[in-house]
């Protein structure tokens, strides 16, 4: 299991299109992936659970990845977060 804290850097936060990108990234891997914000957590394969985190710009999200391809999954998610979900920062 690997854990990493990532910052939401894009202006619109983890909004609908960004959440859909997290889902499609998570679906490329077999590992279990959970996003945690404060006391709430979300399955990274569920757009609604991600949206329910209400993660705006500046939020810290802890990513927990567990499975055979956990390293690659974390790498892809890190890239997505660092790119501001491909929306620029």
């Amino acid at each position: 299991m690997i854990t990493k804290k990532l910052l939401i850097m894009n202006k619109l936060g983890l909004h609908a299109r960004a959440a859909a990108k997290v889902v499609s990234t998570a679906n490329k891997f077999k590992s279990n992936i959970t996003l945690v914000k404060g006391d709430k957590n979300a399955d990274a394969r569920s757009i609604m659970k991600i949206l329910m985190l209400s993660a705006s710009k500046g939020s810290d999200i802890e990513i927990i990845v567990d499975g055979n391809d956990q390293k690659d999954a974390m790498k892809s998610l890190e890239k997505l977060f660092h790119n501001g979900f491909d929306e620029g920062i």
Binding site: A16, R17, V23, R45, I47, M48, L51, M52
Partner: protein, 128 residues
């Protein structure tokens, strides 16, 4: 196993069309075969029902059709409920979070999708 459930949206006026357009822009694709039926005051319910039956037969590729409608007890929902088709499920209460949750799971069965629709619709309603 990849499932091919079709989706029919039956709503008042253009609500269904707009919800579909928004959900499609969120995912960048429409992950199902979808048809939309708008019901307006001047429409004859029987005509809409016949059209609905045509759409459902067209959409059913063997794995069934999920019908999403806006408000229970109203004409769109009554039309949906009156359609006779062996492999369909009707869920009322359509909102954007319902359709996002359905689009999230393109490979699920009809029963599972009906469940996801209800869960997503309810999840999106909360005090913030």
């Amino acid at each position: 196993m990849k499932m091919n459930v079709g989706i029919l949206i039956i709503t008042h006026s253009d609500i269904g069309k707009q919800i579909l357009l928004t959900a499609t822009s969120v995912f960048g694709i429409t992950p199902f075969r979808v048809e939309v039926l708008s019901v307006d005051n001047y429409d004859q319910p029987n005509d809409v029902k016949q059209l609905g039956e045509k759409y459902i037969n067209f959409l059913d590729e063997g794995d069934g059709v999920l019908v999403l409608t806006d408000i229970i007890g109203t004409t769109p929902s009554n039309i949906a409920a009156s359609i006779n088709h062996t492999n369909m499920k009707v869920v009322a209460g359509l909102n954007l979070s319902m359709i996002l949750n359905v689009f999230n799971y393109p490979n699920k069965s009809l029963d599972q999708l009906a469940k996801k629709a209800i869960e997503g619709g309810i999840d999106g309603i909360m005090k913030i």
